[in-house]
Symmetry: C2
Subunit: 192 residues, 2 copies
Amino acid sequence: MFRDLVLRTRSIRRFHEATDIPPTTLRGFVDLARQCASTRNAQPLKYVLSTSRDMNARIFPLLSWAGYFKEWGGPEEGERPAGYVILLGDTRISQSFETDAGIAVQTILLAATESGLGGCVVGSVKRETLAAILSLPEHLKILYVMGMGTPKEKVVLEPMPPDGNVRYWRDAEQVHHVPKRGLGEVLVGAFE
Amino acid sequence: MFRDLVLRTRSIRRFHEATDIPPTTLRGFVDLARQCASTRNAQPLKYVLSTSRDMNARIFPLLSWAGYFKEWGGPEEGERPAGYVILLGDTRISQSFETDAGIAVQTILLAATESGLGGCVVGSVKRETLAAILSLPEHLKILYVMGMGTPKEKVVLEPMPPDGNVRYWRDAEQVHHVPKRGLGEVLVGAFE
């Protein structure tokens, strides 16, 4: 059921790095994402994939993980993504990408969950360096880098605490907890 | 299978207007959307729902439908949405909403398909008038209005034509055709 798929789809930041992702799997995710709704059907998103260990090792140091964990430098060796989906915006097609990008990343994350994979959408990226590594032409702008792999962490949702602190946290067992606003808070009106 | 759900999830602009949407169905969609990934987990999205015929009739004239159909004023009476999901951005929480909004609308559209419903994300909205009708406080900004209902049109995907024209079109049988860029066009690099 779709509800179950959505609830199981959490941002995953630690992976079984040695478990390869078949390249066709990531290609399948992009093939799905390209067929989703797009603002004015412009379809300005482009993609670069990596399941190569060499390229993965060059991409990883350009990402900042979990902004709320100031003392965590991101996943350790052995727990890093086994692949990446890099979302690009083609400025020859549009100047506005974010809603399309949201549609695409959610589609890819949901497809990943169904395949036993998981991922995290990273927005804090050393874009200039990555663009150089990928030899991207000027008109392709890096939007997000999705780190993908077989999940090696447990993530659970929590009700928002009374103080409204949205920061996720890890418990002593390394379970990752994510507070979410309740339905009563986000649903501000209903004409029924 | 998730792939099938994604491919069946098309933007729908004509509905069986007389077929009511149970209010709990739309509430369920919002309940799913609120539990999805959110940038920095800030969760700045808020929602207003309408399944009331009176309110629906006030919302409908504020929307522009299908920008590429210059001669079509949107769905006729009897084919209009049976409900609306209005996405708001809470500027007290964030100033940037679009990626979160993309995640939310895709989640809602996919959930709708599974429930036998469909919808269209409308970005061309008379926002000031709608904000006044809804008595929205200043800090809630209207992002999108999703028209929802039981689909009364067939939508099919097409390969992109050689001239690269992204405009959707309707054939003589009123089937709605949507050209999509091929995988070879959107996948600009793969390190495998």
